[in-house]
Symmetry: C2
Subunit: 671 residues, 2 copies
């Protein structure tokens, strides 16, 4: 081979590399600009625009510049060239005057695009492979959400959250799908439809816009210390409905009736789709939880043994934690499950079990690492969203479809929230009030997940129209609904931090006057969902003590006959730690606030086991006794601390390190 040839190839590759670097630099600078501006906003306490909304605006501006201001003369040499072959292999070898070049398939392009490709190389350059969003940017966001979910208020509202996330999302998907189908029919009638648009496409649209992402709203909630239950409902729902929407959309794509081209309804195909939904969801769930537990076990031996030098550990521990969490995603994808869903449940498991076994420094490190990754990924996605409005070449903006979509999204959200809230309120003691319902309705923002799902496939006319419309829905909801959160909160008179704490105090006093007579408690216990009560008791009394260093010692929860087994399973160190347990994830009852006094009040009678335990090492496992102590403790604290009552409003925060959590526990026992 000739040296000058090599050099020419090298120069060509170098130029392409330089261009890539410059393109990526544009995004990095965009993010930098966003950070600097948001810093200024925080400084001036502007709440009408969240960082994600700002990132979109900057993205839009750069998109306009790229589209209209910069015209890179296209290098014809770089593109053109067609050759006729009769297949489309993944790898192509091209014989150029005796030398072989290897090409990889990038995708199919429509005939109209062939000329476009030569048009503006610059625009094509700043377009990322859609899979980047799904495989690189989304996982840290979703993992972070799962990792932050570990809070008492989440478990207390678990039933409602699951209802909103599962039933609500499916309802919303079908409502939107049906409305959009009507819309498409109308468009067909008046001849505004430029291509195929099947009912499955409509359902697919319904699925992708049903994934809510109230990141903007939650940031403001967090800042204003808004009601913790409302926060838990919204956050929990948005995290879980992302998972539901992903699996739902993939099972809609998988809906394939017999006879290739028919898009008719068919019971068998429908059932199959439903089977796919269940299979993929439960598979991803199981995989995520399994990896979480494996991480736990691989970390545990190094904390139980005392010989190791702890100082060297946090780095290894954090690295292991990070790699295991990432491998969950890869494993799920390799198995054909949904990585994003697996990562979500992995994050939740890590937060619930593994977190307790990390060293305090690693707890900080992992928390900070995923916080940073989440922040960068989120802002990158939103700025790319802004950019893509102008740089995406195949937009199909159809006024009827857009108006229909906005209406459908609104109605779909309403059909999710109001009827479900009504039904849930029948069973809840602590009702979801109507202003909470309006707030949840209003907080139905669409964000990163909706975008990632819609950009994933923009090959057909229907998908292109969906993508364009989705972009507008995201822009509108993030800017208008996100920006109006503060106004909406004051309009709905939703209590902020101070007002609520006063109410809470009144409530506490009333409760304390009633006294721990046991009657009240028993009645509320019957209201809780039996399934979760069983699970919670099992988890709290057996899983947590075995897996982590928190929870009551096994010697106390296991029947006396299993004493030696219990002592064997509980390491001396773990036992010591367990006495200081501060992990109170009560789910006993959705609505009853009294049971939040302390998690030791959970007796094991729900599982059918013994109801009374003996106090071991100063910890009262007997529920009545414990409740007495807790109530007395709470009373005492209330008197001492007076106005310094701090409510556990910081549910948004990722788990705190052990010692600060221990401190917080005192406050939590009072809410």
């Amino acid at each position: 081979m000739n040296k000058s040839d090599i050099t020419t190839t090298e120069i060509k590759a170098e130029e392409s590399h330089r261009q890539d670097s410059a393109d990526l630099l544009v995004f990095i600078l965009l993010l930098t600009l966003t950070i600097l501006t948001i810093w200024l906003f925080k400084h001036r306490r502007f709440r009408f625009l969240h960082e994600t909304g700002l990132a979109m605006i900057y993205g839009l501006l750069v998109g306009v510049v790229l589209r209209y201001a910069i015209h890179v003369p296209s290098d014809m040499n770089n593109v053109t060239l067609s050759c006729n072959v009769n297949a489309s292999p993944a790898t192509l070898l091209v014989n150029v005057s005796g030398k072989f070049y290897e090409y990889t398939l990038k995708g199919e392009i429509s005939g109209s695009e062939v000329n476009d490709i030569q048009d503006n190389e610059m625009l094509r350059k700043v377009t990322f492979d859609p899979e980047v969003f799904f495989n690189i940017l989304l996982p840290p966001i979703i993992f972070h959400a799962g990792y932050s979910l570990k809070r008492r208020h989440f478990f207390r509202n678990l039933g409602s959250i699951l209802a909103y996330a599962f039933v609500g999302t499916v309802v919303s998907c079908f409502i939107i799908g049906l409305l959009m189908y009507g819309c498409v029919m109308l468009m067909k009638q008046i001849g505004q439809l430029g291509g195929d648009f099947f009912f499955t496409d409509c359902l697919f649209f319904g699925a992708i816009v049903s994934a809510t992402d109230p990141v903007t709203v939650l940031a403001i909630f967090n800042e204003l210390q808004v009601d913790a239950d409302l926060y838990a409902l919204l956050f929990g729902e948005s995290v879980l409905n992302d998972a539901v929407a992903v699996v739902l959309s993939s099972s809609i794509v998988g809906y394939q009736p017999e006879g290739d081209n028919s898009h008719t309804f068919e019971a068998m195909a429908m059932l199959k789709s439903f089977g796919i939904f269940l299979g993929v969801f439960s598979g991803s769930f199981a995989l995520g939880v399994a990896t979480g537990v494996v991480t736990l076990f691989s970390l545990t031996p190094f904390h139980v043994t005392k010989f190791t030098k702890l100082r060297d550990f946090p780095l290894l521990e954090t690295a292991l934690f990070f790699l295991m969490s990432w491998s969950t995603f890869l494993l799920a994808e390799a198995c054909g499950f949904t990585g994003v869903v697996a990562v979500l449940f992995c994050g939740m498991t890590q937060a619930h079990y593994t977190f307790n076994n990390l060293s305090p420094e690693s707890q900080d490190r992992t928390k900070q690492l995923f916080e940073l990754l989440n922040f960068l990924a989120e802002n990158f996605i939103f700025s790319y969203m802004g950019l893509t409005l102008f740089t995406f070449k195949n937009h199909v903006f159809n006024p009827i479809f857009i108006v229909g979509a906005f209406l459908a999204v609104f109605l779909g959200r309403a059909a999710n929230i109001y009827p479900l809230s009504f039904l849930l309120n029948l069973g809840r003691k602590y009702k979801i009030s109507s202003n909470f319902q309006h707030m949840m309705m209003f907080a139905g923002l669409r964000g990163a997940m909706t975008f990632a799902l819609s950009i994933r496939d923009t090959a057909t006319y229907a998908r292109q129209m969906m993508f364009s419309t989705t972009l507008l829905v995201v822009f509108f909801t993030v800017w208008i609904c996100g920006g109006g959160t503060t106004q909406m909160l004051s309009c709905q008179k939703i209590r902020g931090f101070l007002e609520q704490s006063c109410l809470m105090m009144d409530f506490l006093c009333v409760r304390l006057q009633i006294g721990p007579d046991g009657v009240e408690r028993r009645s509320t216990k019957q209201e809780s969902v039996w399934f979760f009560r069983i699970w919670y008791n099992f988890d709290h009394n057996y899983l947590k003590p075995i897996l982590t260093h928190s929870g009551p010692p096994l010697t106390a929860t296991l029947p006396a006959c299993c004493g030696s087994l219990a002592r064997c399973l509980t390491s001396p160190q773990a036992y010591e730690e367990q006495l200081k347990d501060s992990d109170s994830d009560l789910i006993l009852n959705d609505s009853d606030i009294t049971l939040a006094y302390g998690d030791i009040t959970v007796s094991t009678d729900a599982t059918g086991a013994h109801t009374s335990g003996t106090p071991v090492g100063g910890v009262a496992v007997n529920s009545d006794e414990a409740l007495d102590r807790e109530l007395a403790f709470g009373d005492h604290e209330l008197v001492i601390r007076g106005t310094r009552l701090v409510l556990p409003m910081d549910d948004s925060e990722p788990p705190l390190p052990l010692d600060s959590r221990r401190h917080r526990h005192k406050n939590e026992t009072m809410s």
Copy 2:
């Protein structure tokens, strides 16, 4: 478009995606295994094998399995297909029965490979694009090295380090190049050379194997608390010679004599190459420093103003820091400079200036983040190295070349260390002893940088032979030299922590008896390199106070006439901070230990400005006075603390947060 067509394409894409996930999973699990094993090793205090060496072993094992145990039946449909065109564009459109598919150029393949491609799809799958190493994995490693370089001992030995890194690396490169050329000539004589091998190729080989990477050795040094000067010499040299080797290799590739095919010597081309070296190096240097300073300025306003809520900041700060550091790399690459070199100097600037202006939490976060990235990237590279010994298909193992290379590497290192040490010792008061020289010779391991440079281009026969040989050199040095470090240290009788601290204490006592008469001090000051003294004084007295919150207040260092200007440039907060300054990066003299007592002893007379300052706010700027105080302080401390004397051996650690540094300062003043 037909729906079944879309589905077929989707299924194909999904399968490919699954395979990719599985491949990446193999590496993640490999890293996980490495971490778990190394944890066990640390627990048992095994020092003969470092985590990088272990990663290579695991990589080798997986490579063997992939190569010999797994035979994936090749999917013929995926590959084959050749078409005759007369150019090799970056993008290719293929017309398959009316539909257009887009392909991107992956690279050229030699004729012999065309059949290989069909052979083992699995092996091809686990082969990463070589640019991944340069653009994704190396930058965090190099940045981390730069970010950790900020230490007094580095600056004290700066002259020697620069000599080893610049002169030494160039000498080593040419010695190895010449020896290898002799070797190649011999091979040509006996007919063992299967392709072209020019003198420039030999020089290129010399450049890439001149980059040392003593990560294994330094880890052990750190653990055993070996001599801080030796540590600084080795670490500083290895960090800087990576940068020199990168630029050197790229300017050797750029050596292009007139007349395309001649590989003869030509003065003009040689000069041009030298010009490229200087231009690229200084350009990358300037860019790195510039971005560091820009980061500083973009961070500063948010710390000077007092209105901001500090609690919300660390995330934004860390994100900004990360993005700016990354953009250095991209900017340098986009400008045609060397990103890795720019990142190195950016890291050093960030550590020297920006770090002081970060909030304590961000200091922790950035330190931990880059520590983690460095750890993951390094172990990934080393495990890939192991893997590639078996999975790379074009190995050319030539016994003569390999033996020659080992000899050349040994002689090149010797020609770097011994003559330079001799010359440096002529000028140093605190000589580099012969056992230190032997240790430096022994610690000339080759690692990540050598590998990344050699895998970057394996197109020609010469490059393939270099790559295979380089792999063996890396394996040998990491396992044998790395594993033998502890033995070598005891063999060379290099003082560990305790012995040295005893010696130090004797020395201190002697010095204190001499007393601060000023004579001794003046004589040592004359020995220091004038250039660095001027730079240091300027940096310490003007740059640091203006740019950061550390260093003496400007009001003290500027002449009295500039008083108002000084007060204007120093913010009240910064002034406050400066009084607590603890940043003592003394470079005044390479060898004299007395000047390490405190950096306030640096008088400004070297810059030609005033020599006596007035004590402002309790800080004595007058050098004699300051030295008196410092010595008295040292004496006092010595008496009080007695055997608790702790030497500043932890130079390897990234900068500590402010409060812990303040604590450390007391110890440092005593060494």
